[in-house]
């Protein structure tokens, strides 16, 4: 290829599908790679998650001990241990909090650079988020789960399908969480500053997503409504219930199917919002 005229435009000869997959894969890789550069933050965050894991675990075990029959919300104590420690691990995999990258880029006008690429912004951000989640799964998920399993009586899966179903559920949970975060961030297209919506999201997602307490502690009608009418339980509660084998095999699978439904709805919604936003976009400053 020496002496090839470098200034002539040629598009890669690989097929469109293979090309798309390669591009998506490269973007996933970039998301992973970007997070590997923040090692100290990863260590500090993991440590904090473990400390809070102890607090939450003791509180919930005390609740179980004080409940008649010892099964609050239908969870045995070892299922509560699974709920708490896998929850601490998943927290930064699904990244419930702290993603304001898109809102920030809209506010500063840097989003213009995203629009100048031959990849749709939603696709590019989704790929990068999956890479980030993969990094989280390796660095942030495993330590709390190991600590929990060593220090508390944790429930181990009894069904063959639980582990693969849990992994699928986590993947979908990341997409659902991403869809919600993208929509919350995209309000910046209209508001310029998305700090208000992001604050509301942070409060709401923690409570209604099943981080602070298992949603099954709520009256059944409320819990069912939350699951069916909002995507929030699909972000954290569903993968945790799948792992803890809270329900029978049919409902275990059903919850993941419901998650999938929400993932599709949110991605479609985010694509529509992005399209509308691009039509009215104002790029700030220069």
């Amino acid at each position: 290829m020496v002496g090839k005229d470098a200034s002539v435009l040629t598009i890669s000869t690989v097929g469109p599908l293979r090309g798309s997959v390669t591009t998506f894969g490269a973007l996933v890789g970039s998301g992973f790679r970007r997070y590997t550069t923040y090692r100290q933050a990863t260590i500090a965050g993991t440590f904090t998650n473990i400390v809070f894991g102890y607090l939450r675990c003791y509180v919930l075990l005390a609740v179980a001990a004080g409940t008649v029959g010892g099964r609050p919300g239908g969870y045995a104590p070892d299922q509560l241990v699974t709920y708490v420690w896998l929850g601490q691990g998943l927290l930064s995999v699904v990244m419930l909090w702290g993603w304001a990258e898109l809102a920030e880029r809209i506010r500063t006008g840097d989003v213009a650079a995203d629009l100048l690429r031959p990849v749709a912004p939603l696709t590019a951000y989704l790929a990068a988020d999956l890479g980030r989640a993969a990094h989280g799964m390796l660095t942030r998920f495993i330590p709390p789960v190991v600590v929990g399993a060593l220090c508390f009586p944790m429930r181990m899966p009894t069904r063959w399908q639980t582990v693969p179903l849990f992994l699928v559920s986590v993947l979908i949970a990341v997409v659902v969480s991403f869809g919600c975060r993208y929509l919350v961030n995209a309000t910046a297209y209209w508001l310029q500053d998305a700090r208000g919506p992001i604050l509301l999201w942070t409060l709401g997602a923690g409570v209604l997503g099943g981080l602070y307490f298992p949603l099954r502690l709520l009256p059944e009608s409320v819990a069912v409504t939350l699951w069916l009418a909002t995507p929030l339980p699909s972000i954290l509660q569903t993968p945790l219930d799948v792992a803890a084998e809270r329900d029978g095999p049919a409902l275990q699978l059903g919850l993941v199917a419901l998650q999938l439904f929400w993932a599709v709805v949110l991605l479609v919604l985010a694509a529509v919002v992005q399209k509308r936003a691009e039509r009215r976009l104002v790029v700030q400053g220069g």
Partner: protein, 319 residues
Amino acid sequence: MIRTNELRKDFTVRVKSGRFRREKRVVEAVAGVTLSIEPGEMVGYIGPNGAGKSTTLKMLTGVLTPSGGDVEVCGLRPVPQRTKLALNIGVVFGQRSQLWWDLPLHESFALLRHIYRVPAAEHAARLRRCRDLLDLDDFLDIPVRQLSLGQRMRGELTAALLHGPRVLFLDEPTIGLDVVSKQAVRSFLAELGATGDVTLVLTTHDLADIERLCERLVVIDHGRVVHDGTIDALHTRYGSRRSLVADLADPLPDGFVLPGATLVGVEADRHRVTFALDGVTAGVAVAGLVAAVSIRDLSVVEPDIEDVVARLYASTDAP
């Protein structure tokens, strides 16, 4: 390569008009720009702050939706065909970055190869050329957030060129750069322009960029084109003249007239005078001056593009 017809962009601004009331006001950022740029041209697009330069560029690249008029770049309509257009154009916004903040430069480049789906050999050839011309080798492994502005800008230029764009849009590519970095960027662009393969549209406040790079100059003010032509044509149109500056041994006598020149400045107790030359050669004017008064020092000053443009901006101040 680029055609616009009566291209317009309005922004709606809400202005406070009472305790609770806000009025909508429409601001015309671009008010009917008609341009035609041929392949291989290098065009300087200048105007004062807020004239609509960046807004035009954003409409040409498909980032902003025009409020009216037609626009076509590389035979494509920028907004509806934005992703397709992205493969054909390269853009550098001097005030923004398209590189990944946390990744080393060479990883950003590798990622761009996948995003634009450039064959590996072609990517390598273009990168090698940019590395040579822009001296990238010293900082390829450094994360973008740790680069100096000059280094980052060289990285940005490379990033914009790796997919071999047919049109390159540069929005203030030399802003904030030191003299050496500016020179590096300019000579790189000059070399690029000399190949004739790339059409280049450059906005800048540094007119030296334009003088060095662009044959054609488009001046925009208040969203309208106020000049479109060569730099020489601009000088002719605004009557910019060469001038003769002389330091005299004795004060200039009252009522002194130099044939073929106009007295435009008197300083230092009438010891320093400036004449604008109205069509006579410098030699004739100097001879006329020397014959009449005794001279200590003398210089002939070429018309300054900055002056011309300043006069042009001032003359279009009232919309």
